[in-house]
């Protein structure tokens, strides 16, 4: 079966975080919750100073520690490799959150659903039609837009990225875009020493 993965092109990424907002749109995320983020890091000394933009997302690890430690089985891996969270089973113990070396798990807090995106308690129709999928207290994360993947579409973040810095596809298919990019540009996973076998790679 497939192994869905992603490659981040660090040359292309401009740190605009359009992906972040595309994801928030798609997933009706409450205030302060991010399923993906693009970080920045400055290094060097003037005038040889530089800054790099580093997109981050759940790595949907082949050997996912969050799945291993989950006491209820709420976190599980689909056949195509996407690591999912069954909202109905999660008890919010946060063990997955302290098991993930990439800090990609988020606990949904009731307060954010009550205050709303504008922080005033006024819930917009957008939020009303979206919040219902979450149970406050559960600990969840990016699911590679699994429903979109089932419909043959790319994840929301991939589709909107202005510089095509996010490449999504089947890592088991040697001709897929991510497979080719990993091969041709020496893709490397983040923190390989954590031994979680991420399915997300970075190229320079």
């Amino acid at each position: 079966m497939a192994r869905m993965g992603m490659v981040f092109d660090l040359k292309a990424c401009i740190g605009c975080n359009a992906c972040v907002i595309g994801c928030k749109q798609e997933n009706s995320l409450p205030d302060g919750v991010f399923f993906t983020k693009t970080l920045s890091e400055e290094y060097g000394v003037y005038p040889m100073a530089n800054r790099v933009y580093i997109p981050t997302i759940c790595n949907h690890c082949d050997d996912a520690p969050c799945e291993k430690v989950c006491p209820t089985g709420a976190t599980y891996t689909r056949e195509d490799g996407i690591v999912m969270v069954d909202d109905a089973k999660c008890i919010g113990c946060s063990t997955c959150a302290v098991a993930c070396p990439y800090d990609q798990r988020t606990q949904m807090e009731e307060e954010s659903f009550l205050k709303g995106l504008f922080g005033t308690g006024e819930i917009t129709p957008f939020e009303e039609q979206g919040y219902g999928r979450y149970t406050p207290g559960t600990v969840t994360k990016c699911d590679f837009c699994s429903q979109r993947v089932d419909a043959g579409l790319d994840p929301a973040c991939v589709v909107t990225c202005p510089t095509d810095a996010r490449i999504f596809g089947d890592l088991d298919d040697p001709d897929s875009a991510p497979s080719k990019m990993i091969r041709e540009r020496q893709g490397r996973p983040p923190m390989p020493d954590k031994n979680t076998k991420p399915k997300v790679y970075y190229v320079n």
Binding site: S40, V45, N50, G73, M108
Partner: protein
């Protein structure tokens, strides 16, 4: 920029270390209650001290569930936590903990009232209950450390020393409290045992800190936080001085005095509570990727 210029990102989009706060104070209290209670129960079981056994079961049956449920995101579903003992230390611990309460209560009941029902203190049932309760107590004393060490995320926790720490602190606090209880025969032996346990704790801390200091950058950062920067006051003051050094001195100097035993016990408990809280607070996530050529994570 060198590794010394550590960036703590907070909630910003800057590459850097983030504090873990998923397991926070209420988890710390829960862990404290479970380990103190199970440890006290276990040593009381070994010393045939029913008062100690009852006293030990109390925090396990009340404090641990209370604080743990208040930590849970969806407390009403917490029973589900027992569903994956095949892979989760939480599940194993919950089952073991529940069994401890069950067997322990049954054991205490038999010891106290069993003769009314024809169950003698040396009967097979009671002995079975003792063994089972003992095993489940051991599980409860250690499983939290195993749960913490189970993954590679928080580097300072990712060490075999964590379950050992749980076990040692369980024993130590158990003995420290048992020392104060009437009928804890052989007080001097207990006090000597406690002294040895304090020594073992000291060694354990050294091992943990050494491993952390020379481990991954995340572990080293945690150790710095504990020993040198943000939490140094609390660690040196409570965990080390009040929790190990002072009780050690007191017990070595006047092991028989109730007063020193009391002060030592309080000190040990305070030191343990502090450590339980601190070990959570110093947990950090390492930066996912660094492009800084001076950063070992590059």
């Amino acid at each position: 920029m060198t590794i010394e210029d550590k960036v703590f990102s907070g909630d910003t989009l800057r590459v850097g270390y983030r504090f873990q706060r998923h397991w926070d104070n209420s988890m710390a209290y829960a862990f404290f209650c479970a380990e103190l209670g199970a440890g006290l129960f276990f040593v009381s079981l070994l010393m045939d001290n029913v008062a100690g056994m009852i006293l030990g079961l109390v925090p396990v049956a009340t404090g641990k569930p209370y604080f743990h449920l208040s930590h849970m995101g969806v407390p009403a579903r917490s029973w589900r936590a027992a569903l994956r003992p095949d892979r989760s230390w939480i599940s194993r611990g919950l089952l073991g903990l529940s069994a401890l309460i069950g067997c322990g209560a049954a054991l205490v009941f038999c010891l106290l009232f069993g003769s009314s029902f024809g169950i003698e203190a040396d009967s097979a049932l009671v002995n079975l209950l003792k063994v089972l309760a003992g095993i489940f107590a051991l599980v409860t004393m250690t499983y939290q450390g195993f749960a913490m060490s189970h993954s590679s995320a928080i580097a300072i926790w990712n060490s075999a020393i964590l379950p050992l720490a749980s076990f040692l602190y369980s024993l130590t606090t158990g003995v420290a409290v048992l020392l104060l209880l009437p009928g804890a025969g052989g007080t001097t032996d207990l006090a000597s045992a406690l002294l040895l346990l304090l020594l073992a704790l000291g060694v354990m801390h050294l091992m943990l800190l050494h491993a952390g200091w020379h481990g991954s950058p995340g572990a080293r950062t945690s150790v710095e936080l504990l020993l040198q920067t943000l939490y140094a006051k609390w660690f040196w003051g409570l965990t080390v001085a009040a929790g190990i050094l002072l009780p050690g001195l007191l017990l070595w100097w006047a092991p028989d005095l109730l007063l020193t035993q009391l002060v030592a016990c309080l000190g040990i408990l305070a030191g343990f509570m502090a450590w339980r809280i601190l070990i959570f607070k110093i947990g950090v996530y390492e930066p996912i990727m660094s492009m800084n050529p001076f950063n070992p994570l590059h």
